[in-house]
Each structure stands twice: as structure tokens, then as C-alpha cells.
């Protein structure tokens, strides 16, 4: 039986798991924005496509549904394989999109590039819809159903998995961005592309890297999504996308730490808001946060002041 504290604890656990996913998605989004100042609407449908890639990768290993359970080394092996395949192919998809649809738009004034990303998102969305249909697909999941009881609240293995992977990836990204040459080049380009170019940084390469990394992170988030919810469908990009986008904006668009923080906050708002009010208002709450942040505090919590394009 749950008392009022354990239910809040449970909602916090729920919220942190949601937050981990939103953080990963928001990270990919904010990486691109930091450098190109472009809102990439296609990002969330890359996430959706990647979840299908992950599904097919796991099915290729012979895992279907939740009936095949693995433990120990085979489990780790299967997951590592799935993550590598999904993240790589998702990254490639991101790079392809950049090359074909976005590079020609670089330098075009105004919102033309953003409109193009809306178009790309639509294309991905509808290709999958036409190809696999509208119904939800059962996700292959080799993880055993282990959980721990925390005084009435339940902590499940998959939650621990999400947090671990999310933290590993975020730490990895942080190290990449601060310790490697390419990472430093990315930060420099994000601050001033012109100057970076003049310092000999190959800005094109930096942009491709940003798209690759961002989409790969979306791929990781997608695989996590499938393993957590045991399903995927053509529409998962919409809702997760909205929340991840708000998370990126709230945390400070362009800031890596901001995306992580924003993700956690939005996840907690979703679960605690649903608990204390009603889940039917979650969308309205999220949209209101989005609007309020953009209007009154566009640089978010941790971001730099939004540069004035005009």
C-alpha cells in the first residue's frame, strides 16, 4: 500500500526516468542549435525512425517480444550490439539530412531552414507510417523483469538501465566536448563560427559532427524508449519531441548542461504535475512553460543570452 510519501517517491522515480530520455533527446537538439542556431524539427522523427532501427537490430539477433530473456554476458552483448547499431545508423541519418536538406540552406536568411526541417520531419514520419502502418509494434526486449521495493515504491531494472546509460552518454559527451580537439572546435564554432573558420577550424566538419552526435544520442534515447515501454510506433516522436524541446529551451538552448537539467526538470514536472493535478493538463502545462520561457527568459536557465539575429 502506498502512503503519500511513497507515492511521491514513486513519481520522482518515474519523473527521473522520463527526464533521462528527454535529456538525451534534448541534448541532440541543443548541439545542433548551439552551432547553427537552427531549430531542427526533423530531430524528433529521427528519434522515431531510430527506434524502429533498434527494433530491427534486436529482432536480427533473434529476440522478439518479451519472451526471450537473457542475463549476464549475453544480455550485455545484445544490448551493446543494439546500441551501437542504432546509434550509428541514427547518426548517419542525421548526417544525410544535413547534407541533402540543410547544407544548401545555410546562409539563407530567416526561417527557411526551419521550414525545411519541418518538411524533412514530415517525410520521415510519413515514410514510416506508410511502410509499417499505424499500429504499435511490440518491442523486442531481452531484459529480465527485476525490481526492487523501496518501502512501497518500486524501482525497476529498466529504470536503472536508463539512468546508467543516460549518465554514461552525457558524461561521454561532456568529456568529448571539453577534452577532445573536435569537441573544442565545436564549442568554438558555437560561440563564433566566423572566428572559428578563421582559426582554421573546418566548420563543415564540426557541423557534420554535431549532427552525427546529436542524432546518435537520439538513437540511444530511441532504443531506451523501446526497451522501457516495450513498444514503438510512428507517432512517438511527437510527444517526446515536444517535451524534449521544452526541456532544451528551459535548460538554455545551446547549453549541454542546460539540456540535461531541463530534461530532468520537465520529467519531474510531468510526473509530479500529473500526480498533483491531472494528466489531461500535462500538454497545456508543458506548452505554457515553453511559451513563458521563450517570451520572458529566452536564454533559459543555463544558456547564454539569445543572440539577436536582427
Amino acid at each position: 500500500m502506498m502512503n503519500e510519501y511513497t507515492v511521491l517517491l514513486q513519481q520522482v522515480i518515474n519523473g527521473l526516468s522520463l527526464g533521462a530520455m528527454y535529456s538525451l533527446l534534448a541534448l541532440g537538439f541543443t548541439l545542433v542549435y548551439g552551432i547553427l542556431e537552427l531549430i531542427n524539427f526533423a530531430h524528433f522523427n529521427v528519434f522515431m525512425v531510430a527506434s524502429f532501427i533498434g527494433m530491427w537490430a534486436l529482432e536480427a539477433l533473434g529476440i522478439s517480444g518479451q519472451s526471450v530473456i537473457l542475463t549476464g554476458l549475453p544480455l550485455v552483448g545484445a544490448l551493446v550490439f543494439a546500441f551501437i547499431v542504432t546509434m550509428t545508423l541514427a547518426g548517419v541519418l542525421g548526417v544525410v539530412i544535413e547534407r541533402l536538406a540543410l547544407r544548401p540552406m545555410r546562409g539563407v536568411r530567416g526561417t527557411a531552414a526551419m521550414i525545411t526541417t519541418i518538411g524533412v520531419g514530415y517525410i520521415l514520419f510519413n515514410i514510416i507510417l506508410l511502410a509499417v502502418g499505424a499500429d504499435s509494434k511490440n518491442y523486442p526486449n531481452p531484459m529480465p523483469n527485476v525490481d526492487w521495493d523501496l518501502g512501497g515504491a518500486t524501482l525497476r531494472l529498466r529504470e536503472v538501465l536508463i539512468w546508467t546509460i543516460a549518465v554514461v552518454l552525457m558524461v561521454g559527451l561532456h568529456l568529448f566536448v571539453t577534452r577532445t580537439r573536435l569537441g573544442k572546435a565545436m564549442r568554438a564554432t558555437a560561440q563564433d563560427a566566423e572566428a572559428a573558420r578563421m582559426m582554421g577550424i573546418d566548420v563543415d566538419r564540426v557541423i557534420v559532427t554535431a549532427f552525427f552526435l546529436g542524432s546518435a544520442l537520439a538513437g540511444a534515447a530511441a532504443l531506451i524508449f523501446g526497451l522501457y515501454y516495450n513498444y514503438t510506433s510512428f507517432i512517438i516522436g511527437y510527444s517526446a519531441g515536444l517535451r524534449a524541446f521544452t526541456a532544451a529551451v528551459l535548460g538554455g538552448i545551446g547549453s549541454v548542461a542546460g539540456a540535461m537539467l531541463g530534461g530532468v526538470i520537465i520529467g519531474l514536472i510531468e510526473s509530479l504535475g500529473g500526480q498533483l493535478l491531472a494528466v489531461r493538463w500535462t500538454d497545456v502545462i508543458i506548452f505554457s512553460i515553453l511559451v513563458l520561457v521563450l517570451v520572458f527568459a529566452p536564454s533559459g536557465l543555463l544558456g547564454r543570452a539569445a543572440p539577436n539575429k536582427s
Binding site: E37, G119, G121, Y122, L130, F245
Partner: protein, 689 residues
């Protein structure tokens, strides 16, 4: 008006098909000046005769839907195309219009009857309905009355949703509008007392004309749709070629320059939102009156995107283009793809291929939308019918003409009438003291004092980074002044927004040129006059004799101002400024500033990038302006120009005034030399001419 004449444009495959569809050959039989009326006449005839030719109720209904989307496209075109504000939540206004009509013309809302309702009953707006639980009020407001009322309600929400976005840049603005666009259907779904929630409205009343109800057949609705679209096209065209349209396009092209030229950005952005939303509100009423039901799912993000695709496809900013885009895509969706699918099914049955019989092309319409968006953005951003008109080539004579510097020498009285400031106060025209501007930790201007007497020329010089442009920006309200007083013509201009500063009589040019690139030379100059003209939206719409006279006078004045620059700009009056040479663009900027009849002209490096001959020419023209009585504050690097023109010179360095005086005095000043050269006079005095 040359939008419609496409036969000489360089045509790609798309353009060729379009030209063919438009009957490129038949149109050539008609004399050029008759082409526009002939096309319009053809369209009107086709629109009116369509139901008679088609006779198929479903097709007529389809066309009525297409007309609705055309109306929506026209509305979004005003917001996105004219004013450059990307609204991704436009369907919200469609919903508001629909539900407003639904609230007042269905059985959804039935308050208890009381005496309060009697006058409304007398006006035939409500009816008294008998109910076992007590009499109720039934709203039955006329469709024709609700059309403008819903438009007004939607316009109100347009202002409400637009207000938070005023200071946001393009993509953030889009996201906020997207947010509002999502919130409205959620509210509709969760407010069952007004909207019947997810289940949709029941029995929305059909329009009635002189007691005869429209009923079910699609034909009367079709004609209402034609009338609505015609009205909206008329409104769009009238607004586009008026002062309002010019102000919107200025905002779209360069918001800062627009403000500096007197356009009140807040007012015009909200006006664009309001009018755009109003179009959608009226269309929502029409759509729901025809369908007689409404559900929240009819107004969600995909609908907003569909309208966006229609205007991108048709041509952002082009009135006829977006109508064409909307009609083509809607007809494609509900008619052509359907019929094509049936045709493929029949073919499949004929040649026994099973999958052909199952193919449903209509299901891939959104994929097609996505493809259209991407390909249009990549390859033909201007759409099917571009908004910008084609450039008429210069004749050989014009191209090889001798450059005549014309202008001031030609007709001084006329120019004086055009440009001379009306009322010049006693005392200094511009009086600045203690001006300090900080950007974070950097002090860009520190305690700067400056006066410009009426009718004089003052030059501001100084090394790069000394704060000269910041001085201009602080004066014109583009940058806030942290300390100091700014007085102009006897009034305080310290906290005024840029357009108000222009209204007071200060006009400026920009160091890095801020023209409106896709507008013509003449349009650029006429925007300079924005603050001196009075036509509002209503005047633009009705085009009363007063408005027409004002427009013509404005045009003449603009041409006269262009003549100051001889034959450099006059033959290029209808060219877009993007196609002009650098020097000509500088001249246009000056002309634009002059058009606002300033008392004080701020020129920020006007001769930058010009060769010596052009510099001399421009200096002469500036001198001519000075002789007409204009006060000029000039930032210049070329000391010979300064010496030639300026009566007084102010020198800035690192944000502080380090010297002031006549040109001769200043250029021998120790401080000035050190500032420029980094060493004392004795070593480098020979360097300064």
C-alpha cells in the same frame, strides 16, 4: 501588377507547365495591357460557371473546401508572406472562428430564459425554447452577422497570441505560435459546455438568405466561398500595394531599418496578426456552417502545416500564388489522388495486378506535403508565382547614358519644397550632454556632449571602435542610453522608440547598409515616407480619393527625391535594390532617409566604399542638401570630405570626446593625432592631408 505577366520569365519545368496551364499561347493573343483584366475575367467566369458545368455535388463540395483553404492561405500569407512572421499555429484562429459561430448558432449553449434576453429575441438573435425544466435560450444569430463577428473575435485572439511574440526573433516566434496553436484544440476538447468536447458540435445552423435556408446542397456554399475568397483577395491586394503593405514588407525585410524609418513595429505586427487571424475566423465560420459540425481534431498542427505548405508551394507573399497553391493542393488531395487511385484500381483489375487494386494515393498526401516543402525550399523558394516582380532590363541608351548628377542644380525651389524642414526652432537643434552607454562591462560612450545647431553640418570622426555608430544608435533609440540627456528640437528624445525618433525629425542611414533587399528602389524610398503619410488599413482598403491622392503625391515626391541623384536611380526606380551597385545602394539609403522630411539627417559613413569620383559627387549632393536648410550630422573617415562639408568636427576616441572645433583646428590637435596614429604630432603630422 506585373505579377501576372509571366511569359517572359525564365521558366523551369514547373514554370513551363504553369505557363502552359495558364495558356501561355492564348494569352499572347491578347494585348499586353489587356492581359490582367482578361485573366481575371477568365477566372471569374470559370469560378461562377463551375457548378453549372460540374453538376456533381461532391465535386462542388470539394471545391468549396478548396476555397476555404485558399482563404486560410490568404490569411496566413498576410502574416508570413507580407509581414514575415512565421506563424505555425494558424489553425487556432480557424478553430476560434468555427467555435464562435458554433456557440451562437447551435443548440450547444442554452442558458435559462430570463427577461434579459427579450431585446435579443426582438432582434431575432435568440429564440425562446420550451423545455420541461424551464424555458431556455436558443442562439440563432445569423450567419451573415457572425462572419464579421467571428472575424473580430479571431482578430482579438490574433493580437492576444501575437503580443508575446513581438520581441522574439523568427524561429522563437514560430515556436510560441506553435504552442498557442496546440493549446487551442486542447481547450476545445476540455470545454464541453461550449464545444461539446471531443464529440463535436451538433447541428450547427446553416446560413439563411431572406428566409430560405441553405440546406445541404453544396452549391450555395460554393458561391459564398467564391465571394469570400474574392473579398479576401481584394483585401490582400489593396493592403499589399498600400502604405500598410509597405510597412509590413519593411518589417519583414529588416525590422531595425523599418523602425528607424518610422514604422511602428508593435502596431503593424499586431495588425498583421489581427488581420490574418480575422481571415481565418471568417473562414472557420463558413467551413463549420457548411459542415454543420466541428471536432477539435479538425484544427490541429497538421492543418497549420498544410496551410504553410500551400503558401510555400504557391509563392510566399504572392496573393494569386497562394490561392493557386491552395487550390492545387486541395484538389490534389480530395479529388485528383482519389480519382487516380480509382483509376489505378481499375487498371489493376484489368491487368490483374493485386497491389494496384489496393493502392491509395490519398494516404500519401502528407508525404507529398513534406516533399513539396523540402523541394520548394531547396530549389524554388519563391514558389509557383513569385511575389517579387521581374526586373525590366535597362535599355541600351539607359545603360550607356552619361551620369548626370542632376538634382540640386536642376530645380532648387522644388527640392526646397520637398525637403526643407518646416519649422526650425531657435537654439541648437540637437543637444546631447553626458551621454553614457554601457554594454555590460564595456563603456561604449562616456559622458559625451554634442550640439548640432539648426541648419549646420557637424562631422563626427574617430578611430574604429570609438563609439561613433553607438552614438547614432543611442540617438535613434536602437540602443538604450544609460545616462545623459538627449534633446532635439526642444523635446526630449531619450527614451523614445526608433519610429518615434523618426517622427520627431531625425532620419539616419546605416554604416553597413540596411535596405529592404527584395523591394524596389521606389518602395524603399516610399517607406521612408511612412511616418508622414496617414493612410490606415481602412483607407487602404477603400482607396478613397483622399488616399489615392496621398499615394500619388507620395510617389511623385519619391521620384523627385531620386532625381537628386541624377539619372543614377531614376531609371532603376522599379528595380529591386539587391540588384543595384554598392554606390547606388548607398544613394538609395540616403534618399530613403530624405523622404521622411527630416530636420536632422544622420549619415553614417555615406561615402564608404565609393571611389573618389563618386565621393566627390555625393559630397556635392550633401552640400546641396545643406544649402536647403537641412542639418546634417555626419560620420566620416575621409578627411577631405569632412573638411569640405563640416562646419564643426567632434572627435571621439574610446567612447570619449577628445576634441571639438573647426576642421582645421581639429586636425592639428595633438590628442587627435595620437588617437589616430598612436604617436605624437611631431613624428607623424605629415601623414594627415
Amino acid at each position: 501588377m506585373a505579377e501576372k505577366d509571366l511569359t517572359e520569365r525564365p521558366l523551369g519545368m514547373l514554370g513551363a507547365s504553369y505557363a502552359w496551364i495558364r495558356g501561355a499561347s492564348p494569352i499572347q493573343w491578347i494585348a499586353p495591357h489587356m492581359r490582367s483584366p482578361a485573366s481575371i475575367g477568365f477566372l471569374v467566369a470559370a469560378a461562377l460557371l463551375f457548378p453549372i458545368i460540374s453538376r456533381n455535388d461532391a465535386n462542388i463540395d470539394s471545391m468549396a473546401n478548396a476555397l476555404s483553404y485558399a482563404a486560410l492561405a490568404l490569411g496566413l500569407n498576410i502574416v508570413v508572406g507580407f509581414a514575415g512572421l512565421l506563424d505555425l499555429g494558424y489553425a487556432a484562429f480557424f478553430a476560434i472562428g468555427a467555435y464562435t459561430y458554433g456557440a451562437f448558432a447551435s443548440y450547444q449553449i442554452e442558458p435559462a430564459w430570463s427577461g434579459f434576453w427579450e431585446p435579443f429575441q426582438w432582434l431575432d438573435l435568440v429564440a425562446r425554447v420550451h423545455d420541461p425544466g424551464g424555458d431556455l435560450v436558443h442562439f440563432q444569430v445569423s450567419f451573415w452577422l457572425m462572419l464579421p463577428v467571428s472575424a473580430a473575435v479571431a482578430a482579438f485572439f490574433g493580437v492576444l497570441f501575437g503580443a508575446p511574440t513581438l520581441r522574439l526573433k523568427g524561429d522563437y516566434l514560430a515556436i510560441v505560435t506553435l504552442g498557442f496553436g496546440e493549446i487551442v484544440p486542447i481547450v476545445a476538447r476540455n470545454w464541453p459546455s461550449v464545444t461539446n468536447g471531443a464529440m463535436g458540435l451538433n447541428g450547427v445552423a446553416a446560413p439563411q438568405l431572406f428566409g430560405w435556408s441553405f440546406g445541404i446542397g453544396a452549391t450555395p456554399y460554393y458561391y459564398v466561398g467564391v465571394a469570400l475568397v474574392a473579398l479576401l483577395i481584394f483585401t490582400s491586394l489593396r493592403l499589399k500595394s498600400s502604405r500598410i503593405g509597405r510597412a509590413w514588407m519593411a518589417i519583414r525585410e529588416d525590422e531595425i531599418a523599418a523602425a528607424a524609418m518610422g514604422v511602428n513595429r508593435v502596431k503593424f505586427k499586431l495588425l498583421a496578426f489581427a488581420i490574418g487571424a480575422g481571415f481565418a475566423g471568417a473562414t472557420g465560420t463558413f467551413f463549420v456552417a457548411k459542415l454543420q459540425t466541428a471536432t477539435p481534431e479538425m484544427f490541429m498542427f497538421p492543418v497549420s502545416v498544410m496551410i504553410l505548405v500551400m503558401i510555400v508551394f504557391g509563392g510566399i507573399g504572392s496573393v494569386w500564388g497562394v490561392v493557386l497553391g491552395a487550390m492545387i493542393l486541395q484538389v490534389l488531395q480530395s479529388w485528383i489522388l482519389e480519382d487516380l487511385s480509382q483509376w489505378l484500381h481499375a487498371l489493376g483489375r484489368l491487368i490483374h495486378i493485386h497491389w494496384l487494386q489496393q493502392v491509395e494515393l490519398a494516404q500519401s498526401i502528407e508525404l507529398i506535403f513534406g516533399l513539396i516543402l523540402v523541394t520548394m525550399m531547396l530549389y524554388r523558394r519563391e514558389g509557383l508565382i513569385p511575389a517579387t516582380r521581374r526586373v525590366q532590363g535597362l535599355t541600351l541608351a539607359q545603360q550607356t547614358a552619361h551620369v548626370g548628377s542632376g538634382g540640386s542644380a536642376g530645380n532648387p525651389d522644388r527640392l526646397a519644397a520637398l525637403l526643407a524642414p518646416d519649422r526650425v526652432p531657435d537654439g541648437p537643434l540637437l543637444d546631447i550632454s553626458g551621454l553614457t552607454v554601457r554594454f555590460g562591462g564595456l563603456v561604449a560612450l562616456r559622458q559625451v556632449a554634442l550640439t548640432v545647431p539648426a541648419g549646420s553640418v557637424v562631422a563626427v570622426i574617430g578611430p574604429n571602435g570609438s563609439g561613433k555608430s553607438t552614438l547614432f544608435n543611442a540617438m535613434t533609440g536602437l540602443v538604450p542610453a544609460d545616462e545623459g540627456t538627449l534633446r532635439f528640437a526642444g523635446g526630449n528624445i531619450a527614451r523614445l522608440p526608433p519610429h518615434a525618433v523618426l517622427e520627431r525629425g531625425i532620419a539616419r542611414t546605416f554604416q553597413n547598409l540596411r535596405l529592404f533587399p527584395s523591394l524596389t528602389v521606389l518602395e524603399n524610398v516610399m517607406i521612408g515616407m511612412h511616418a508622414r503619410l496617414a493612410t490606415g488599413a481602412v483607407g487602404a482598403l477603400l482607396r478613397l480619393p483622399g488616399t489615392r491622392r496621398e499615394e500619388e503625391a507620395a510617389r511623385e515626391r519619391a521620384m523627385a527625391i531620386l532625381e537628386i541623384f541624377g539619372n543614377r536611380l531614376v531609371p532603376r526606380a522599379e528595380h529591386t535594390v539587391a540588384s543595384l551597385s554598392y554606390a547606388n545602394r548607398r544613394r538609395v539609403e540616403i534618399a530613403r532617409a530624405l523622404a521622411s522630411q527630416p530636420k536632422l539627417l544622420l549619415l553614417d559613413e555615406p561615402t564608404a566604399g565609393m571611389n573618389p569620383a563618386e565621393t566627390i559627387e555625393l559630397a556635392g549632393q550633401i552640400k546641396g542638401l545643406h544649402q536647403l536648410g537641412l542639418a546634417i550630422l555626419l560620420i566620416e573617415h575621409k578627411l577631405d570630405v569632412v573638411v569640405n562639408l563640416a562646419q564643426n568636427v567632434v572627435v571621439l576616441d574610446h567612447g570619449e570626446k577628445i576634441a571639438e572645433g573647426t576642421p582645421d583646428v581639429v586636425r592639428r590637435d595633438e590628442e587627435v593625432i595620437r588617437a589616430y596614429l598612436g604617436r605624437s604630432a611631431s613624428v607623424g603630422s605629415a601623414a594627415i592631408a
